[in-house]
C-alpha cells in the first residue's frame, strides 16, 4: 500500500529551492547578478507549465502515477546539471542586447532550458496532489516545509563548497528523493537499483566535468588572456566568489581615476575579482609611504587636504586601498568596515615575496559589518567618513547596476552618516563619472534633500563637488566650508588637473578648465539643483534624479519612461549608453514571463473549452481564474517586497532571500497544514476572512514598524538577525499559506480536474509577479507594492471559488 510520499516530496522541494538559489549565484558568476530576478520567474514557469500539462493529460498521467512521479524526480536530478550546461553554451551577451535582437531569443532559450528542471519538479508535485487529493494540505505542507529547509541548507552549503560543486550535491539530493519515493510508494524493484546507479554515474561524471563558462566580457576572463596571469586563490560564500589574480609579467597598475599630471607608478598589486568582475587590488606592503603617493592623485583624496583627519571611517573598505590613502595622509585612527569577511582574509595572502597585511597596520581596525549597522551600534564620531567607488566601472557604465538595491546611498543613509560626523567633519562620497550626468546629480540632490530636511543647516555652504574625467567626489561638511578650505580645494584640483564643480564660492570662470565639457553641464545642473527651480529641473531632466530612500533603494535606477522614445530613436546613433541595460533586461524578462505564462494559461483554457461537455454547469471559471491569479500575484509581491526590505537588515541579497524565502515557505507550509483544521472549525468562507484580515493587518503593521525594528536590531549578530527575520515573517507567512489550500480543497470536492489548472494559473501569476514586483518597486517603492498586494488579498474574499457550492449546500 503506497504511503503518502511526504519525505520524497519534501526532499525534492528542498533540492528545487536550493537549485533555484544556486542558479542565482551561478548566473551572477557567468553573466551578471540581475539575472536573479529571472530565476524566480523561470522556476515558477516550470511549475506552471507542469500544471497545465497535468491538467490536459491528467487521466492518462494518473494511470502511471508511480512511474511518472519517480521518473520526474529522476529527471529533475539529471536536468539540474544538463540544463545548466545547455544554458551556459548559449552565446548570450547581456551588453549586446541593444545591438542584436537575437540576444532576446538567446535569453528566451536560456529561460526555457533553466525552466526544465522545475517543470519536472512541478510535474511530480502536481501528480502527487492529484493522486492524493484528500490529503492535499499535508502534501502542500511538505512541499513548502521542504522548500524552506532547502533555503537554509543552501546558505550553509555555499560556505562549504564552491557553487559548481553545490550543483552536483543538489543533483544528488534529487536522486536521493527518487530512492525514497520508491520506498514510500512501495514499488521497490531490484532493477531500480541499476537505474539509480546509472544515474549516479552520469551525475558524477557530468558534475565533476562541469566548468563555469564565464562571459568573456567580464574582467577576470579578459585578464587571464594576458601572458603570465593566473588565479592563485579562490574563496566562495553566499556573498560572492572571490578570485585572486597575479600577473607575473605585466603589473596590474590599478589606480582608478589617477590624475593625468601624476608621475607615480603603483606598487605591486594582486587583483581581487568578485564573481569574475568588479576588480579591486591588494597592494604590496611598503615601509616607505611616499611610494603610495599615487593614491593621493585621485579625487577621493580631497578631504585630507582640506584639514587633517585624525579619525576616519571607511565604509566598504574592500581590499584596503582607502586605508592606505588614509595612512599616507596621516590619519591617526582608521575604522575600516567591510561586509565580506573573506575579502578581508585575502588581504593576508602570501604569494612568493608579496605580502600586504593592510588591515594589520597600526591604527587600523577592521570591522566585518555593514556600514550602517556599524554606525548604528557605535557612537563614535569621525572627522571623515568615506565611501569610494563601490561599483565596477564597466558594469556601472553599461547600466547593469540599475537593479542593485543599495542602502548606502539613500536619504536615510546620508542622514545617519552626517549624524556621526564631528563638528567640521566631512562625508566624502566618490563615484564613477557618467555621461550624461546621472549619479553625481542624484547624489548631489540626495545631499540637498538631507540638508534641507535638517533645520540647522545651510546646504549651499556645506557642499563641495569636484571631478576628473573619470570620477566625481562630493563632500558634505558638518559645518560651513571656510575660505581657507575652498582655497585648498582650488589648489588641490589645479595641481591634479581636476575640475571644481561646486564650492560655496564657485565662479563660472573657475569650472571646466581641465576636463572640458561643452556645455559645462555639471556646473550648470548643480546650479539648477541649488536654485529655487529645483523641482522643475528634476522634472525636466531626462533621467531620474529623485533621491533613493530605504523604501525605494535603487540609487542607480535612472530610467524614465518619458525619455524612452527619444533614447530608442538614438539607438545605433551613439545613444546605447543612455539606456540602462539592467532595467531593460528585467523588462525583457518580464515580457518573456508574460508571453510564456500567458500561453500556458490560454493554451489549456482553449483546450478546455473544447471539452465543455465535461464541465459541470456549477463551475465558475472566472472565480477560479481571478482568485488564483490574485493570490499568486499578491503572495509574490509581499514575499519579494519583504525580501528586498530585509536586505537592509541582513545586508546581502542572498541572506535576505534565503531567510525570507525559508520563512515564507516553512510557515506557509505550516499554515497550509493547519488550514483544514481551521476550516472544520470556522467553515471555509469565515476562515478565509479571518486569514485575509491577518494578512492585511500584519503587512500594514510591518510597513510601519520594520524601520524601527531594523535600527533596534543593528547590534545583533547575523545568526540572531537571521532568526529574528524568520520570527517576523512567520506569522504573516502562516496566514499567507492558507488561501491556496482553502480554495484547492473546495475544488477537490467539486471540480478536482481543475486543480492542475488552478495550480498553473497560480504559478503563472507568480511568474509575472516575480518580475513585475521588481519593476513596480523601482518605480513606486516597496510600500506601494505591499499595499497593492494587500488589495489583491482583500479581493480574494469576494471571489472565493465556486460560490454555488455554498448555495447548493444550503
Amino acid at each position: 500500500m503506497p504511503r503518502l510520499p511526504v519525505i520524497s516530496l519534501a526532499i525534492l522541494s528542498a533540492a528545487a529551492l536550493a537549485y533555484e538559489l544556486l542558479l542565482m549565484r551561478l548566473l551572477s558568476i557567468i553573466f551578471w547578478h540581475h539575472f536573479a530576478y529571472m530565476v524566480i520567474g523561470l522556476s515558477l514557469l516550470g511549475h506552471g507549465f507542469s500544471g497545465s500539462v497535468v491538467m490536459v493529460l491528467q487521466d492518462k498521467l494518473l494511470k502511471y502515477f508511480r512511474q511518472l512521479y519517480i521518473g520526474s524526480i529522476l529527471l529533475f536530478s539529471l536536468f539540474s546539471i544538463i540544463s545548466f550546461q545547455w544554458a551556459q553554451n548559449i552565446p548570450f551577451n547581456a551588453e549586446e542586447i541593444l545591438w542584436d535582437w537575437w540576444q532576446g531569443v538567446y535569453l528566451l532559450i536560456i529561460f526555457l532550458f533553466l525552466s526544465l528542471p522545475f517543470f519536472f519538479v512541478g510535474l511530480a508535485i502536481c501528480l502527487a496532489f492529484l493522486h492524493f487529493k484528500r490529503q492535499l494540505s499535508r502534501l502542500y505542507a511538505a512541499d513548502l516545509l521542504g522548500a524552506g529547509v532547502g533555503c537554509l541548507v543552501f546558505v550553509l552549503l555555499l560556505y562549504i563548497v564552491f557553487p559548481k560543486s553545490a550543483l552536483f550535491y543538489i543533483s544528488l539530493s534529487g536522486l536521493l528523493a527518487a530512492v525514497i519515493a520508491v520506498i514510500e510508494l512501495g514499488r521497490f524493484r531490484l532493477s531500480f537499483i541499476g537505474m539509480v546507479l546509472i544515474f549516479l554515474a552520469f551525475i558524477c561524471w557530468t558534475g565533476w566535468q562541469l566548468n563555469l563558462q564565464i562571459s568573456p566580457y567580464k574582467s577576470l576572463p579578459k585578464m587571464l588572456l594576458i601572458n603570465g596571469t593566473q588565479v592563485i586563490a579562490e574563496k566562495s560564500s553566499p556573498l560572492g566568489m572571490l578570485s585572486v589574480l597575479v600577473s607575473n609579467q605585466i603589473p596590474l597598475r590599478y589606480v582608478p581615476g589617477m590624475s593625468l599630471s601624476s608621475g607615480s607608478e603603483p606598487l605591486p598589486q594582486l587583483g581581487v575579482f568578485t564573481d569574475a568582475d568588479n576588480m579591486s587590488v591588494i597592494t604590496s606592503k611598503t615601509d616607505d609611504l611616499m611610494r603610495l603617493d599615487y593614491l593621493d592623485q585621485t579625487t577621493s583624496a580631497l578631504p585630507y587636504h582640506l584639514q587633517m583627519a585624525e579619525t576616519v571611517l571607511i565604509i566598504g573598505s574592500g581590499s584596503g586601498n582607502d586605508v592606505l590613502q588614509a595612512k599616507i595622509n596621516h590619519a591617526g585612527k582608521i575604522d575600516a568596515v567591510e561586509l565580506n569577511k573573506q575579502l578581508v582574509e585575502l588581504t593576508d595572502i602570501h604569494y612568493l615575496d608579496f605580502v600586504s597585511h593592510v588591515y594589520q597596520q597600526p591604527g587600523v581596525s577592521v570591522h566585518i559589518a555593514d556600514g550602517r549597522d556599524f554606525l548604528n551600534t557605535h557612537s563614535q564620531r569621525y572627522d571623515l567618513i568615506k565611501l569610494s567607488l563601490l561599483d565596477s566601472f564597466n558594469a556601472s557604465a553599461a547600466g547593469l547596476y540599475a537593479l542593485n538595491e543599495s542602502y548606502l546611498y539613500t536619504v536615510e543613509a546620508l542622514q545617519l552618516y552626517l549624524s556621526r560626523l564631528k563638528l567640521g567633519g566631512y562625508l566624502c562620497i566618490t563615484r564613477w563619472l557618467k555621461m550624461p550626468p546621472r549619479d553625481t546629480l542624484k547624489l548631489f540632490n540626495t545631499a540637498l534633500t538631507v540638508l534641507d530636511n535638517s533645520s540647522d543647516t545651510n546646504a549651499r555652504q556645506q557642499l563641495m563637488l569636484i571631478r576628473s574625467w573619470q570620477t566625481t567626489t562630493l563632500i558634505i561638511k558638518n559645518g560651513i566650508f571656510s575660505s581657507e578650505e575652498i582655497i585648498e580645494a582650488e589648489s588641490f584640483t589645479s595641481k591634479r588637473n581636476f575640475d571644481l564643480v561646486y564650492t560655496p564660492e564657485i565662479q563660472p570662470k573657475q569650472v571646466n578648465q581641465y576636463n572640458i565639457l561643452t556645455p559645462a553641464v555639471f556646473y550648470q545642473y548643480t546650479q539648477a539643483l541649488l536654485s529655487g527651480d529645483r523641482q522643475n529641473f528634476i522634472e525636466q531632466y531626462k533621467f531620474n534624479l529623485q533621491p533613493a530612500t530605504d523604501d525605494r533603494p535603487y540609487f542607480q535606477h535612472f530610467f524614465r519612461w518619458s525619455s524612452l522614445p527619444e533614447m530608442i530613436g538614438l539607438l545605433h546613433k551613439g545613444g546605447e549608453s543612455l539606456v540602462e541595460t539592467g532595467y531593460l533586461i528585467v523588462f525583457v524578462t518580464f515580457c518573456i514571463a508574460i508571453l510564456t505564462s500567458t500561453l500556458l494559461i490560454l493554451g489549456p483554457l482553449w483546450w478546455l473549452n473544447g471539452f465543455k461537455h465535461i464541465i459541470p454547469s456549477t463551475v465558475k471559471h472566472r472565480h477560479v481564474f481571478v482568485y488564483f491569479s490574485a493570490i499568486g500575484l499578491g503572495f509574490l509581491m509581499i514575499e519579494i517586497a519583504f525580501m528586498q526590505k530585509f536586505i537592509l537588515f541582513l545586508h546581502h541579497p542572498v541572506y535576505a532571500i534565503a531567510a525570507t524565502l525559508a520563512a515564507f515557505l516553512v510557515f506557509a507550509g505550516l499554515g497550509s497544514a493547519c488550514s483544514s483544521n481551521l476550516v472544520q472549525r470556522f467553515g471555509q468562507r469565515l476562515c478565509l476572512r479571518i486569514v485575509i484580515i491577518f494578512i492585511v493587518g500584519l503587512s500594514l503593521g510591518y510597513l510601519l514598524l520594520l524601520p524601527e525594528i531594523f535600527v533596534w536590531g543593528s547590534a545583533l549578530s547575523m545568526p540572531i538577525r537571521f532568526f529574528l527575520t524568520i520570527c517576523l515573517i512567520a506569522p504573516l507567512a502562516f496566514f499567507m499559506g492558507m488561501p491556496m489550500p482553502l480554495a484547492l480543497g473546495r475544488l477537490a470536492k467539486q471540480a478536482d480536474y481543475l486543480i492542475p489548472w488552478a495550480w498553473a494559473i497560480n504559478s503563472c501569476a507568480s511568474v509575472i509577479s516575480s518580475v513585475l514586483t521588481v519593476l513596480l518597486a523601482m518605480q513606486f517603492g516597496f510600500s506601494v507594492v505591499i499595499l497593492m498586494a494587500v488589495v489583491l488579498y482583500a479581493l480574494a474574499i469576494f471571489i472565493f471559488p465556486l460560490p454555488q457550492l455554498t448555495r447548493e449546500a444550503h
Binding site: 605585466i250 607615480s264 558594469a395 557604465a397 572640458i516 531632466y541 551613439g574
Partner: protein, 247 residues
C-alpha cells in the same frame, strides 16, 4: 584545340566561373555595404554636429572608411554584420568598434600625412588599418598575444606595411619611436599612463573611448598644449541633451 574540350572540362570551367562570379558578387556586396556604412556615418555626424563641433568629417577619413575591408577584420560568423554600424565581437572578450566611433576618433586626432601614431590595443587591427592610410607610420601594441599576432599577420597580409605591431605591455608607450603626433588608446585602462602623456608631442592629441565594450559613453580627447599642459575634452558621441526646456 576546341575539339579537345569535352563535357568534363566544360563542367569544371563552368564551376570555376561560377565560383569566381560568386566571389566577385560577394566583393561587390561588401563594397556596396561599405559605401552605405560611410553614408550612415556622414548622416550621424551631421546629426551630432553640435557635440562634435563640426558638420562633417575629414574627407580623407571617410575615404579610408570606404576603403578598408572591415569584413577582413571580423570572425567568419560576423562577416555578414561587418558593415553594420555596430560593435562586433572578435573573440577574446574584445570587440571591433562601431564604425561611427572609429571614424569620429580618427577625425578628432587631426592627423597629417607625416604624423606618427601610437595605438594601444590593436585588437583586430581595424583601427590601425584606418590610420595607416592617413599617416606616415602607425605603432600598435596589443597585450593579448593571440590577438596581437593575429592582427599583425592580418595587417601584413592585407598590405598595411606602415603598421608596426608588437605584443606586450603598453603602459610605458613605445619609447623607441616616441614622441608621437597622436595616440589612440582603444584598450582603455583605469587611468591614463603618465608615459603616454610624456610621449605625446606638444600640439598632439590623444583619444580614448570611455564606456563598456558595446557602449561608448564618451570620447576623451587629450590635447597637449604649448606649455605641456594637458587638457581633456569629454565628447558625447550622440545628439542628446539631458534636460528639456531652458536649463
Amino acid at each position: 584545340m576546341y575539339k579537345n574540350i569535352n563535357l568534363k572540362d566544360g563542367l569544371l570551367l563552368t564551376v570555376l566561373m561560377l565560383c569566381l562570379n560568386i566571389n566577385v558578387q560577394a566583393e561587390e556586396n561588401y563594397s556596396m555595404a561599405r559605401q552605405e556604412m560611410v553614408r550612415v556615418i556622414e548622416d550621424l555626424v551631421y546629426v551630432t554636429r553640435t557635440h562634435l563641433d563640426k558638420e562633417q568629417l575629414d574627407e580623407k577619413v571617410l575615404q579610408m572608411m570606404a576603403k578598408v575591408l572591415r569584413h577582413e577584420f571580423v570572425p567568419d560568423e560576423n562577416k555578414h554584420n561587418a558593415y553594420e554600424n555596430r560593435p562586433l565581437s572578435i573573440g577574446y572578450g574584445q570587440t571591433i568598434s562601431q564604425p561611427y566611433i572609429v571614424a569620429i576618433m580618427t577625425d578628432l586626432l587631426e592627423l597629417k600625412e607625416d604624423s606618427r601614431v601610437l595605438e594601444l590595443g590593436t585588437g583586430s587591427g581595424y583601427q590601425a588599418a584606418i590610420l595607416s592610410g592617413l599617416v606616415k607610420q602607425v605603432f600598435s601594441i596589443e597585450i593579448v598575444e593571440s590577438l596581437g599576432l593575429a592582427a599583425k599577420e592580418r595587417l601584413m597580409r592585407l598590405g598595411y606595411d606602415n603598421v608596426t605591431v608588437k605584443v606586450g605591455d603598453g603602459y610605458y608607450g613605445w619609447e623607441e619611436y616616441a614622441p608621437f603626433d597622436a595616440i589612440i588608446v582603444t584598450a582603455a585602462g583605469n587611468h591614463i599612463p603618465p608615459s603616454l602623456s610624456k610621449q605625446l608631442k606638444v600640439g598632439g592629441r590623444m583619444i580614448i573611448p570611455v564606456g563598456s565594450l558595446f557602449m561608448t559613453q564618451q570620447l576623451l580627447l587629450v590635447s597637449k598644449q604649448d606649455d605641456a599642459k594637458l587638457i581633456t575634452r569629454q565628447i558625447l558621441p550622440v545628439s542628446f541633451v539631458p534636460v528639456t526646456g531652458g536649463h
